[in-house]
């Protein structure tokens, strides 16, 4: 269980102290046990729930309206350079 949790935490870019890890491992085990119990139910004819409420379709019409202050969005980023967001170097080409 701990391994699974460690992987999830790594994927979510989180870092947890050891005691927190232990606490969460136990908690997660309980959650998964509960899900195992739920699995006993026969759900063959039930559509998987994607949303809790039965509302569908909210649309907007296709019209372009500029946001009032896009510059501000760049400014509140941790780092920027000439109106570009600045991030640690990432490059895909191997």
């Amino acid at each position: 269980m701990k391994k699974v949790l460690e992987k999830m935490i790594r994927l979510a870019r989180l870092k947890l102290p050891e005691e927190e890890m232990n606490r969460l491992t136990k908690k997660t085990e309980h959650v998964l046990e509960y899900i195992e119990r739920l699995k006993e139910l026969n759900t063959d004819d039930i559509e998987p729930t994607s949303h809790a409420i039965e509302v569908v379709n909210a649309f907007r019409e296709d019209a372009a309206t500029p946001f009032s202050n896009p510059k501000k969005i760049v400014e509140i980023a941790p780092k920027s350079f000439e109106n570009l967001f600045e991030v640690p170097r990432v490059i895909d080409e191997g």
Binding site: L11, A63, A64, F67, P70, I73, F81, V87
Partner: protein
Amino acid sequence: MKYEAVIGLEVHAQLATKSKLFCPCSTAFGAKPNTNICPVCSGQAGALPVLNKMAVEMAVKSGLALGCTIQEKSIFARKNYFYPDLPKGYQISQYEKPLCLNGHLDIVTDGKLKRVHIQRIHMEEDAGKLLHETGHENFSHVDLNRCSTPLIEIVSGPDLSTPQEAADTYRKLRNILVYLEVCDGNMQEGNLRCDANVSLRPIGAKAFGTRSEIKNVNSFKFLENAIAYEIKRQAEILDGGGKVVQETRLWNQAKQMTTSMRSKEEAHDYRYFPDPDLLPLVVDTLWIEKIKSSLPELPEAKAERFVSDYGLPEQDAQVLTAEKPMAHYFEECIVGFNAPKKIANWIMAELMRELKSRELDITQIKMKPNQLAHMVALIENGTISGAIGKTIFMEMLNSGTDPDKIIEAKGLKQVTDTSTIEIVIDKIIAKETENVQRYKSGKTNVFGFFVGAVMKEMGGKANPKIVNEILRKKLN
């Protein structure tokens, strides 16, 4: 060992909407970095996405044109991964319940018809753009203008077996999307992109081999090159007793090879789940029917019509309808002068050759359809010869001047006045006594020489039929 290739395509097409998929930011290409961004597409806490209705209609249109079943209910899901071009930490896509399923596309490669299965079409948002060449060694930079522009991803079945078939499929998909006006199809601007999954298996085998996914192919030619390279690379690995690694590879056109790409996210664990911010999308029959009735004539139907209405050979009809603007140009010409085959010949021989050598497309030229039509009419009614027609054609293409004006300015009108032609012929016959003797002694093949001499003397403007008649009379 002999192998057969198994190839499938994933095509990303940017939908030609004015605004983004979930917010009202403009999708215009080439804007200054980070000017078309807002709290929604830049992933600010608490911002809520609202679906663009036009994007849905365009996606449905694409699905219908490709023979898909439109799903009444589809669901947007979050595809989670961390990358700097993705400010929310997830991409909104469709996973388990895409909008369109089970379509097909017919391609003809080397005269052979093949039906390619379209597994699915789903809607998703694009990511931002990463810039690496901003002069900083330790940093990359991000422009989020493209972030959240609407895309459809079209996934073909693993039905293709040669690089040519793959390129033909991609080409035809592009043509259909451009016909539908749901995508501009501009590969340079990246609004149409293609990834190819390639694997090999021994001929006759049923099971698939391990595949690699090739990214970054932004032209039909590159796609062919990349797949051909990948087939060779995998065959060499297998022949050497090795195993193909399942991975993503990038095509490098300059080096003419694919190179392995480091994985974006370990183990590709995207942890998809339904996006709670977006309601399920329901497209009912009424809406589908309405969209269906708005579908334009597609390439195949248009080609059939060109055969039945204009009496064109099937080959001509295929060539003329492959791209919508070309088909439109042709039909505009027909309005000007109703001689379909003659016009088709000029377009397919002269015009297409010039477009190719000048690297232009039909929408970029100065010559208007009615001008081309009028020139062909002038040839047909004998005002100009076919040879002069070519001169005028080039002039029209270069300057967009009306054929009548070119004829007048350059004095290119065909001479049909028999007495004028006769004077020239008499002059030639008087000069070319030796050749006249030859002709009279039975070497009638010098006749062509006389025609050529007269034409040269008259700057190509003499009516060839009249020249022939008078020459024959005089020489016999």
